[in-house]
Amino acid sequence: MEMDWQAFALSLRLATVTTAILLAIAVPLAALLVLGRSRWLAALEALATLPMVLPPTVLGFFLLVLLGPRTAVGRGITALLGHPLAFSFSGLVVGSVIYSLPFAVQPLVAGFASVDTALVDAARLLGAGPVRLVTSILVPLARRSLLAAIVLSFLHTIGEFGVVLMLGGDIPGSTRTLSIVLYNQVENFDYAAANRTAAILLGMSVVALALIYSKTQERGARRA
């Protein structure tokens, strides 16, 4: 079987869009979890971590039901967009964002929490509001965590299977990602093609992780 470049491009597009949306959500959320004082933050952090421990198929099933025609939410979204979110690329993005949320939030929480609180206090005393505090102090000083969040979100989305299958099905050009292609190839006993697809997924993971660790070593070398 030929390599499914359409699925490859769709996976890259899904991972890119998901990672961009995740960053927009995860950076302020992580800053709130680290800097906030509300007693509700523990519950919020638990909620943001939930997708990490929830089986992907369970999450996919919940989302399928929630976004389907049986709920007010699903009907409202259908009325708004003109089509249901389930079994569409947009639906996959929603599912992927929720599924990969902890992989973006957790590295950022760890990175922001490691920034010296004296620096945060100094910035606040010099008039920095929450947005400036995050953009000019927390993010620059937690660059490696930001890189980790980007890479982990991207790879986690590229490799996801359960949520994609439950929520998106297997529609070529719309919801068929590389993981679905790999599953189909194995089901058809086309191990040569499955090997190629798996190698691509593996290669992407290795390159991305090498990128993270090379940055870590650069930092270590600078310190030494």
Binding site: D116, L119, L126
Partner: protein
């Protein structure tokens, strides 16, 4: 005029002080753990009192009775701590310019130059914080704190890394500048020579309570007397 009435708790430590300070230079004096840093953090707005009120020149900064607590950056208050806490990813000049967000480029550059000159750190402008000695970093921290033109300057043992001569010279220059610009200053120290050298009003703290407020020589003489009596009773 700085007025405050504060009731704060940090674990088992209970801080309760009520005071009005008219002097333009006040030294908060007391042993470690007496509440000096707690007081400065409360005044700066970094910590919240359980109950209390802080007013600077009749402007209320904190009033728990009406749920008012101005953010640290909106209190016209600067704090220079013992640890300079310079932003490590910014140059010295960028550190000093950090609080000058609203100014245009030329005004910002001029202000940075003026503040670095005041702190005796002009030649450090292009350096990174990692390249500075402890004393140089404290000078830069002072320049950064003064740049946004605060009305109240809080100093928490700010020149501990400077030698005596350099510290005295900087202190003298700073006091002149503060007086000229009508900035009230409160400096915490546990070094009696700092309190005496600046001929300040002294606020004496012990275990989270104010035990005296008055001219340095008078308050410190009384404290010396108290310590001598205590020492004598222990020897007996």
């Amino acid at each position: 005029m700085l007025e405050f009435s504060l009731d704060a708790r940090r674990g088992s430590f209970h801080f309760q002080v009520e005071c009005a300070i008219a002097s333009d230079w006040t030294v908060v004096f007391g042993p470690s753990g007496s509440g000096k840093s707690t007081l400065l953090r409360l005044l700066a707005g970094l910590d919240l009192p359980v109950r209390g009120r802080i007013a600077l020149n009749t402007r209320t900064l904190t009033d728990t009775a009406i749920g008012l607590h101005l953010a640290p950056g909106r209190r016209s208050t600067a704090l220079v701590a013992q640890q300079p806490a310079l932003f490590p990813h910014l140059s010295v000049a960028a550190n000093v310019a950090y609080g000058l967000h609203g100014l245009d480029h030329a005004s910002r550059a001029a202000r940075v130059e003026e503040m670095l000159a005041l702190a005796g750190a002009t030649d450090l402008a292009g350096r990174r914080p990692q390249e500075l000695s402890g004393g140089e970093a404290q000078r830069v921290a002072l320049a950064r704190a003064l740049a946004p033109a605060p009305r109240l300057l809080l100093l928490d043992e700010p020149f501990s890394a400077l030698d005596g001569v350099a510290s005295d010279a900087l202190l003298e220059r700073l006091q002149l500048w503060l007086r000229k610009n009508e900035v009230q200053a409160v400096m915490a120290t546990h070094d009696v020579t700092d309190a005496l050298a600046t001929s300040a009003e002294v606020l004496l703290l012990r275990e989270g309570r104010m035990t005296a407020l008055g001219p340095a020589a008078q308050v410190l003489a009384a404290e010396r007397e108290r310590l001598m009596v205590r020492l004598q009773s222990r020897c007996d």
